[in-house]
Every structure is written in structure tokens, then in C-alpha cells.
């Protein structure tokens, strides 16, 4: 009984961790590009990235399901490349979550990169730091807080995701059955005691996780000049 929930927890964590990783790897250059881009196509790309927000997850899931099925190109390509069906696989829910959570990662990062400005990057370049070096030695540490926001929004949103995953994953235990679906199932199956238990564990677990993340991000600022002056200008 509890075993099956544990299994869902493991799947959820695997999926959310992998999704967050991919989101950061894909989202960071995308956000950087958008932040520095001046072309008029920028607004279009921005709108496309934000689109998953507007569609109800189940509907988004419906379209993804169609795309992932072996009858359509993305699903076909995947099958040719990996020999496995894409729909109803672990890979499918990761891809779905990545698409669905992309705006939550891209937008905070983009704004952070925009606010950063160029002056410190110019200084870095003139000390011999190339673009990659500058990114890791200047941009990343200065926008650390936004990366944490982006990652935690992405992670949390993936954990809470339900409609898309249910549709393209098919709720298969050990593969695509995640905690949010398990929780939903408990409610549907009138198993309120277990639903409450799971919901509360989920809440406490995520709260501890989120608090830990935010706390990790806290001490860095504590002895800065700005902080000591907060009271004066509140």
C-alpha cells in the first residue's frame, strides 16, 4: 500500500530532478539569448515560451499525446532513434514537464540577466574572461538567487504537475505514475485518509525543501552594505 506511494515518490523525484536539470540546461541559454536579443522576433519567441501557461494542462497533454504517438513525426523520430515508444514512457513525462515548466525557468532568468547590465561583463572581458568563463564567474554568482528561484519554481511546478503527465504518461506504476497522480487517485478512490496523509507529507516535504533552498540562498547577503541600510528606506 504505502509501497506504491513510495514508488510514486521515487518516480516523482527522478522526474522532477531530471526535468529541472534539463530546464536549467535548456532554459539558461534561451533566457540569455532573449535577454540580450534586440530583434523584433524576440517578442514572438517570448510569447511561444510562455504559451504552455495558457493552455489547460489536460489539453496541452492531449496535443502532446498526439505528437508523441508513433503515428506522428516526433513520436516516430523518437522511436527510430531509441527503438522505444515515446508516449507513456518516463521520457515522455520528462519532455512534457520540460515544455510545461519552461516559462517558469526562462522568465525569471531572463529578467535577472536583463537587470544585470553589461558593466561587470565588460570588466570581466577586459580581464581576459571569455563568454563561458564570464558566465560562470560573473553572471552565475550574481544571479544565483534567480537561478534558485527558477529551479525551485521549475521543480515545484513539475512535482505539482498533473494534467499533462497523466495524459501522456498513462499513470503506469514505476514508470510514469507520480505523486500528484497518486494523490488524485486517492481522492478519486474516496481514500481520503491516505489522500490527506499524502497531501500533508507532500506539503511538509516541499516546505522543508523550499525553505532549505531559500535558506541556502540567504546568508550570502547578510553582511552586505545594502542590508544594513534596509530600515532606512523601507
Amino acid at each position: 500500500m504505502i509501497n506504491s506511494d513510495l514508488q510514486a515518490l521515487v518516480t516523482t523525484l527522478e522526474m522532477a530532478a531530471l526535468t529541472t536539470l534539463i530546464l536549467l540546461i535548456v532554459g539558461t541559454p534561451l533566457a540569455w539569448y532573449l535577454a540580450k536579443m534586440t530583434s523584433r522576433f524576440k517578442v514572438i519567441i517570448e510569447a511561444v515560451v510562455a504559451l504552455p501557461l495558457v493552455l489547460p494542462p489536460t489539453v496541452l497533454g492531449f496535443y502532446l499525446l498526439i505528437a508523441f504517438s508513433p503515428e506522428h513525426l516526433p513520436g516516430q523520430l523518437w522511436q527510430q532513434a531509441t527503438g522505444q515508444q515515446l508516449a507513456f514512457s518516463f521520457s515522455a513525462i520528462v519532455i512534457g514537464s520540460v515544455l510545461y515548466s519552461l516559462p517558469f525557468v526562462v522568465q525569471p532568468l531572463q529578467k535577472a540577466f536583463e537587470q544585470l547590465g553589461d558593466s561587470l561583463l565588460e570588466a570581466g572581458a577586459l580581464l581576459g574572461a571569455g563568454p563561458i568563463d564570464r558566465f560562470f564567474s560573473i553572471v552565475l554568482p550574481l544571479t544565483k538567487a534567480s537561478f534558485i528561484t527558477a529551479a525551485s519554481l521549475g521543480f515545484a511546478h513539475t512535482v505539482g504537475e498533473f494534467g499533462v503527465i497523466l495524459m501522456i504518461g498513462g499513470n503506469i506504476p514505476g514508470e510514469t505514475r507520480v505523486l500528484s497522480i497518486a494523490l488524485f487517485d486517492h481522492v478519486e478512490a474516496f481514500d481520503y485518509a491516505r489522500a490527506h496523509l499524502l497531501a500533508i507529507s507532500l506539503l511538509i516535504g516541499s516546505m522543508v525543501l523550499l525553505a532549505a533552498i531559500y535558506w541556502l540562498n540567504l546568508p550570502k547577503r547578510s553582511n552586505s552594505k545594502n542590508l544594513s541600510q534596509v530600515r532606512s528606506v523601507k
Binding site: S69, Q85, A87, G170, P173, E175, E188, A189, F190
Partner: protein
Amino acid sequence: GQAYQSNVNDSTNTKTKSDDNNKPLRIAVAANFTPVLKVLLKDFTRQTGIKTQVISGASGAMFLQIKYGAPFDMFLSADSRRPKELEQAGYALKGSRKTYAIGQLALYSSSNNSNANSLGQLSLEEELAVDQLRKPPARFAIANPDTAPYGKAAKEALTHLGLWQLYESRLIKGINIGQTFAQLRSKAVTRGIVANSQLVLNNLSGVIIPSNYHQAIEQQLIIIRSSKQQTAAEKLSHFLLSAQSQNRIVSYGYAQTQLVNNANKKLSELTAK
């Protein structure tokens, strides 16, 4: 519902191994029947040694998933329309479509002394139902008549009583009968029409709405044509339709099915001709 497997390790095997015999029989089932199925499957596994995995969900979603290649072996829908469509579209094993249960509507009220209204004689029931329904509350919960079979039946019952007009503007429509029940359980809405089986399973009581007020809520199953475990699936189909299982199903708040299945057979014979 959750996965029912005699051995949890098997689930990991399903990822890696493609050995069909080792794979459990994967059953997609409408959420409202999941608890009953789980009880029945215990016996089934004991008798046949066939391992099973239950995937519970909304019939609509599962219907779409099967169309797009979901790796299910069997589908227990909450209605008859979707199995029929799947059969016509060639996703079902020919002749595998069977009615495994017939839903029964019940009027549920979370606020009043509904405990007094224990299930009794039909005539009394009828009286009670009509009686209560004639005094419509501000809000009344049913499943969505356009998409959910229990909702459609509820609408028919209300129409039959000439009360649909009265109720139409007061309806809280759940996406399926599960959500309607959840809405009632939250007590945000106090009265509504749910599946009788939901009440039975939760030790609640309501007033059964006579089945002749609406078309039968046939819950049908099919065996998926692409399944590699069709024999095991057929065994389960037989098991579910056996008199013993049917009696247990009825004891969980469903109506008798015998009649319907026969009629169904005749119908399909007729249409086949």
C-alpha cells in the same frame, strides 16, 4: 486506486524486461469501479496466478490514451460509448466488449438525516426520491451530463421527473462522478446525484433513484487488440462476468447485469447482421 501486484519488483522488471509472461496484466479502469475491482482481483490472482496491475483514471483520458498507443491490456470503462468507439475503430479485440457492471444512481444529501432513509422497498424509495427532488436546493451536484455517463443518467432521471428545467440553473457539474462525490463530501454542496457504489463503499446512505428513470448506465470492458496477454485478459473477463463476481459487484451498489448482457448480445448479433 493503486497498482496491484503480487510482487513489487515486477514493476521494475516491466521497465527493462520484455518477457510477456513476467509482465502483469495491465488493467485500465474507470475510477469509480477501482475499489471493487481491487477486491475482486485478490480472488482472481489467487485462483489463476495471474499478476495484475490496476491503472485507475478517467474513462475519457484512458480512451484517448488507448487510441494513441497506451500499453494497456484491458479497459474497464465507466460507460459503453467509449468501448464501442474503440471497438469500431479497431482497438478492441473482436467480441471482447462486455458489460461488467451497471451503475445505479443515488440521491445523496450530506446535511440532512439521510441515515434514516435506509435502502428499502422500491416503492418507498421512489416516493422518497421524488419527494426530496421536488424541493430543489440552491445548488445541486451531478456529473457533467455531456461527458460523464452518470451525469447523463442523472439528467435523464431529472427530465423523466419533469424537473430538469427546475434544476438546470442550479447544477454544479463535476468533470466525472468522482469529482461530484468529492464536491459533496466537502459539504460545499449538500445535495446531488452520485453513483450508489460510491455511497456503499464509503458507508454512506442515500436514496437510490429507480433505474427506470434513465437509460441503463452500462459499464463495459474491452480487451485491447494489441495486448500480448489476451488469454489472461480473457480469463479475467470471464472471471468478472461469472455469477459469483457479479453478485459481489451488485453488493457494492451496482445493479444486476445478467439481463443487459443478454440483451447486449442480441443487439450485437443484430447489428452484426
